[in-house]
Amino acid sequence: MAITTTIVPTAGPVAGSRSFLSRLREGDEIARMITFLFAASVVLVTVLLVFELWQGSVLARHKFGFNFFHTSVWDPIFEQFGALPFIYGTLVTAAVALLIAVPLGIGAAIFLAELAPARVSDTLEFFIDLLAAVPSVIYGVLGVFIIVPLMRQYVHPALKHSLGFLPLFQGPAYGVGFLTAGIVLAIMVIPYIISVSREVLLSVPRDQREAALSLGATRWESTWKVVVPFARAGIFGSIFLALARALGETMAVTMVIGNTPTISASLLSPGYSIAAVIANEFTEATGELHTQSLIELGLVLFILTFLLNGFARLLIVATSKRGSGARA
């Protein structure tokens, strides 16, 4: 090694200008190739995953075509598979979750980014990060033993009593169902919304706030009418990120949604989600078509989360660029 290095300096310190042979001798090319193999394997695994999902669902896709998405009979005996109830359940629970999580999450993010002193903000953010680390199955356990009984005894009857005239709150109080799953999901995605929104809010340049305040705006007005709109794209990004996470969530939802493929306007009704039906039926789908239909559901889930994640990232990157651009 010592010998090589005494020769090389004439070529200058920049790697690119060394000859291929000298780089090979020093091991740079080998290191490059080895690390390249590792990096390439990431791409390979991902491609393989998409391929397996696509290949594994070929029969179902050909047999049902587009009907798969808008028919609602899921009948393993007569081999009829329509995914609408699962898609519906997934979307409804995610919507309920966002309805709760978005105002709470953004409110908390505003507090952390705009009001709280840095020390308090960092401490709270630390707890929020820990909250994001709680595994799904633990939310499921708390859902089953704490939230479901609460919903059955108090929340469902109260909703039926006060808002029972709405089609949203009909039917018997099972405790499990769309609403319960939505609430559990909301608790699970709030940390994501808070963390990312706080980050984008913090990236809004200081002078934006000062300008608003100097024009006589109250603190809230400067926050709500100047800072938040500035960070709007990034906040939407955090919401899409949360949505992607909510759609793919499996264990907690399986444990509290009721596992019944129904399409009902009532949020109190039990339902089913894509991830939950895969978890319940994948190991036991006897017919080839049944298995393939489940894999197709996996594919649908994959595509949905892929689109949402991509969109979210774009929005978040755009906001932080805008923030740093304005600062410069």
Binding site: V14, R32, A40, S41, E52, V196, T218, W220, N309
Partner: protein, 283 residues
């Protein structure tokens, strides 16, 4: 003060208070979770829980020793499989690659990161379980390892990029080859960050349940070697919580407490490692 101004001040104060309430509610959830688990699980975490095998259905007693070992074995495999790929892949991205390759690798990693865990389960089943006709520790470890790759890769890359360029240039100016620079200067400089990233990835998959349902299955005995079905803590929590037996509920709470404490401790340690180092980059 005009009425209007007073009103605006009131709205401002009110809304700002509300944001504080939101933050309080969000954070208190963590303590509620910890509190419930401590109350219901605390009394059930005993020596048997860590040393005994599960007893036949409906009988009282027993523990989850096999599930704890099963989880440990799968996490070990996951780390051995996921971390090298993520780590060396990140070195390639940060130090060697051109922008087009880097784009594809990063894109693939982000894609993989977003894949719902249940879909990872399907993938591991069709790639490992189905061809070898065997549910196994190996398959479970593979599924978890897969989930560790993107997290390790993306954060390691960020930390490597965080190493100031002058350090690189100084090493190269002294005549060190590129790989030597990476091994002796860049990686050690980003050491804390990388360790944090690996710990966080580990904590994230330690609680994963869905990918194990179709890969590790379960086992009421010890699972010998690597090629047999194995019990795991998260799956045990799932099945025990849904069963009708009070004694199983008690154990599910206990297992939940153990799992959560483990994960939170890893998270706290990971952040403590960083606390006096570089700031955590967010992906």
């Amino acid at each position: 003060m005009s009425l209007r101004l007073r009103w605006r001040k009131f709205v401002s104060g009110f809304m700002l208070t509300m944001t504080g309430v939101c933050a309080l509610v969000a954070v208190s959830v963590l303590f509620l979770i910890l509190g419930y688990l401590a109350i219901h699980g605390g009394a059930s975490v005993n020596w048997n829980f860590f040393t005994k095998l599960p007893v036949p259905v409906g009988e009282t007693g027993g523990g989850m020793a096999n599930a704890i070992l099963g989880s440990a074995k799968m996490l070990l495999l996951a780390t051995l499989f996921g971390v090298p790929i993520g780590f060396f892949g990140a070195i390639y991205l940060a130090e060697f690659s051109g922008s087009t390759t880097a784009f594809f690798v990063r894109y693939a990693a982000d894609l993989l990161n977003g894949v719902p865990s249940i879909v990872i389960g399907i993938f591991a089943y069709s790639l490992v379980v189905h061809p070898f006709r065997q549910y196994s520790t190996l398959a479970g470890g593979f599924a978890l390892g897969l989930m560790m790759i993107p997290i390790t890769l993306r954060s390691t890359e960020e930390f490597l990029r965080g190493v100031p360029n002058p350090l690189r240039e100084a090493a190269m100016a002294l005549g060190a080859s590129k790989w030597k620079t990476i091994a002796t200067v860049i990686v050690p400089a980003a050491y804390r960050g990388i360790l944090t990233a690996i710990l966080l990835a580990f904590a994230r998959v330690a609680g994963e349940t869905a990918p194990l349902l179709f890969t590790a299955l379960g086992n009421q005995f010890w699972s010998p070697g690597w090629t047999h079905p194995t019990a795991s803590l998260p799956v045990m929590i799932y099945t025990y919580a849904l069963a009708p037996y009070d004694d199983w509920h008690r154990q599910a709470w206990a297992a939940g407490l153990v799992l959560l404490v483990l994960i939170l401790v890893i998270n706290i340690v990971a952040r403590a490692i960083l606390s006096r180092g570089i700031a955590v980059p967010r992906s």
